[in-house]
């Protein structure tokens, strides 16, 4: 390969990590009210390097380093959002959302409602979510289900670089508060750089792989897991459809129920713990509204209900695996 070809290839390929910064930068260019705040996001360009280039391009009046004060970060973002800005706040690890949970649970999602619609809160809280990297119990959790317990939040969790850019655009333009989960295990993954003005409407699931025998519903890191399982199942003649939900709120049940009309079998793959996981909500809607579409029980493949362990050999026992998904699908073959 020549040097020129290498350069050309790089411009069309982007990592998930780069897509985060790219997605934010595109919105900052088109809307001067978009501002960023968070720990180490400025000159240091983020501990996960998801804000590379932002401080350099937009300067210290648009990209603000904060102290380690999660309540102040999210609370200030809320006050700014209520008064004419569109803040993008970073909470370094999603586990730390617990440090500012008052804002995520009590303040941001409720203020519009409890004031009778007098104010809006157009902000994005971005956070690095999920396990698989050996960060231990307090830096590895998939906590998208925490946000799902609170009406009034939109919840985004992209699985690939193009979706990161398109969903970031929609999240920042949204007049409603959005919690945006960036998966740590996907940061190095690569994909095609999306064209300019790439916007993905919130609440539109993607059928990532069409199939006829079983529907596998996934989100963020479990999308590649589900796709790998579908590849393996295809070798056995099982045609699995993989749906990437992209968002938990709005939740695209139209796509899920539409798929089940054809497949009649459902496996849900979630990284958050089985207890209280988002798959329970999806399953309950299917049980309630899609019971007659089903030929078998709904299977949920979720994390074990323990804190995330440190060692790889232990973490692999907790987080959903390809083998776990194929086993669940095969169990449904009996029906």
């Amino acid at each position: 390969m020549t040097a020129d070809a290498g350069t050309k290839a790089e411009t069309n390929v982007i990592t998930y990590r780069e897509a985060v910064a790219e997605g934010i930068a595109r919105e900052m260019r088109r809307d001067p009210t978009v501002v960023c705040l968070g720990e180490d996001i400025g000159a240091a360009e983020g501990v996960f390097k998801t804000t590379v280039g932002l401080h350099k391009e937009f300067g210290s009046q648009r990209v603000w380093d904060t102290p380690i004060s999660e309540q102040a970060i999210v609370g200030a973002a809320m006050g700014a959002a209520m008064t004419g800005l569109r803040p993008v706040a970073e909470i370094m690890f999603s586990d730390f959302l617990a440090c500012c949970w008052d804002y995520i649970a009590n303040e941001i999602p409720k203020v519009r409602y409890m004031t009778g619609g007098q104010v809006t809160v157009p902000l994005v809280v971005r956070t690095a979510n999920g396990g698989g990297l050996g960060f231990g119990a307090q830096h590895s959790q998939a906590v998208e289900n925490w946000a799902l317990t609170v009406p009034g939040l939109k919840i985004v969790a992209p699985s690939n670089p193009a979706d990161v850019v398109g969903l970031m655009a929609a999240a920042i333009r949204s007049p409603d508060p959005v919690v945006f989960f960036e998966h740590k295990g996907l940061l190095a993954s690569k994909g095609e750089r999306p064209p300019a003005d790439h916007v993905i409407e919130l609440g539109r699931a993607a059928v990532t792989r069409p199939g006829d025998d079983v529907t596998i519903v996934a989100l963020a890191s479990t999308v590649p897991t589900a796709l790998a399982a579908a590849d393996e199942l295809a070798r056995d003649g099982v045609s699995a459809e993989v749906i990437d939900l992209r968002c938990l709120v709005p939740l695209d049940m139209t796509t899920v129920l539409g798929s089940l009309r054809r497949t009649s079998r459902l496996v849900i793959v979630e990284e958050n713990p089985y207890q209280g996981g988002w798959g329970g909500t999806v399953a309950s809607i299917v049980a309630d509204e899609g019971f007659e579409l089903l030929d078998g029980p709904i299977k949920r493949v979720a994390a074990a209900c323990v804190p995330l362990p440190f060692a790889d050999a232990l973490e692999e026992q907790v987080i959903p695996t390809v083998a776990g998904v194929t086993a669940a699908v095969r169990a449904l073959a009996a029906y």
């Binding site: 501002v35 009046q61 603000w64 904060t66 102290p67 004060s69 309540q71 102040a72 999210v74 609370g75 200030a76 973002a77 809320m78 006050g79 700014a80 959002a81 209520m82 008064t83 004419g84 800005l85 803040p87 008052d102 804002y103 009590n106 303040e107 999602p109 203020v111 519009r112 409602y113 409890m114 004031t115 009778g116 619609g117 007098q118 104010v119 809006t120 157009p122 009406p151 009034g152 007049p175 409603d176 609440g203 709120v249 709005p250 939740l251 695209d252 049940m253 139209t254 796509t255 809607i285």
Partner: protein, 326 residues
């Protein structure tokens, strides 16, 4: 406007709030106000004095004891009482209640019922004002009890580091709910003594003297607009009712209550009015006007319709709806 006329207007606004709080208490005791109330009778000087020093487009954030702040910024007695009485004409359409009175159109961006939560919000509004170069300031009013929660400290530090146009106004009424603040706080002045740790200037003032409050907030707002950063104001005041609902506040010594009732902000304002040559007839007329407004407000709120039940499923999202799935 002469000094006397200006003070008389502030006095009338305080009387209006006092009468509204009395009405709220009576309506609660007769079962027409449900849930809870946290009345601010006795603390009107802080809200009215501060409001007199602010621009109409400045931002105010208050606590669940916030009726006086909503009214000082322009919410009417009628829309506040209607809110308390669960009426469609309430200032939040009966979705907020006593603890969440909000009048966004008047820059009163809410009353928040999680202690201390709104201090970072005020910091954010001040940050927004600074970035937009609007010359606005943001004010967070909070109780002495809020000075022991983490959000207070995170907010003061961030506001100081970013040198934001924000005022932290503590209404120190000496009790965090039922417990004397001195029993649970490591320093004698819960807000002012903490300001030092963040390199912020502070003032301890008589919060029951509306002119003292007005002047202190004027100074702090001027500093903020000049780019000099935040100020902490600790205003000593006293609530005349209990903490909430029908709390008789028996944990407060009778002599203490008696002493503070003598220093009622209305008494202090009346004494000042007399010194300024405002006659007792003018004061009585202000009392009467305020009384009439509140009487009419109670009647109107009582006669107002309840909320349309369909309203329960509106206002979650900016599009007015509540849809979370397809």
């Amino acid at each position: 406007m002469s000094d006397g006329e200006e003070l008389l207007a502030l006095y009338e606004r305080m009387v209006l709030i006092r009468r509204t709080e009395k009405a709220a208490y009576d309506l609660f005791m007769t079962g027409l106000v449900k849930g809870t109330t946290h009345l601010a009778a006795g603390q009107e000087g802080v809200a009215v004095g501060a409001s007199a020093a602010l621009r109409p487009d400045d931002y105010v954030f208050a606590t669940y004891r916030g009726h006086h702040h909503a009214m000082a910024r322009g919410a009417t007695a009628e829309e506040c009482l209607a809110e308390l009485m669960s009426k469609a004409t309430g200032v939040c359409g009966a979705k907020g209640g006593s603890m969440h009175l909000t009048k966004a159109s008047a820059g009163m961006l809410g009353s928040y019922a999680i202690v201390g939560a709104h201090l970072p919000m005020a910091v954010g509004a001040a940050w927004s004002a600074k970035l937009r170069d609007s010359g606005q300031v943001a004010v967070a009013f909070f109780g002495d009890g809020a000075t022991n929660i983490g959000a207070f400290h995170e907010a003061l530090n961030l506001a100081a580091v970013w040198k934001l146009p924000v005022l932290f106004v503590c209404e120190n009424n000496f009790y965090m709910e039922y417990t004397p603040i001195s029993e649970v706080t490591a320093v004698p002045n819960p807000a002012a003594d903490r300001a030092v740790a963040y390199g912020l200037p502070s003032e301890i003032i008589d919060g029951n003297d509306v002119l003292v409050v007005r002047d202190a907030v004027t100074r702090a707002a001027w500093r903020a607009r000049e780019g000099e950063g935040p100020t902490v104001i600790e205003a000593h005041t006293y609530r005349q009712y209990g903490h909430s609902r029908a709390d008789p506040a028996k944990y407060r010594p009778a002599e203490e209550v008696e002493e503070w009732l003598k220093r009622d902000p209305l008494n202090i304002a009346r004494a000042r009015l007399e010194k300024l040559g405002v006659g007792s007839e003018a004061i009585a007329a202000a009392d009467q006007r305020a009384g009439q407004v509140v009487e009419a407000a109670v009647d109107a709120a009582k006669n107002a319709p309840g909320p349309d039940p369909a309203q329960a499923l509106t206002d979650v999202w900016a599009d007015g709806g509540a849809a979370w799935r397809t």
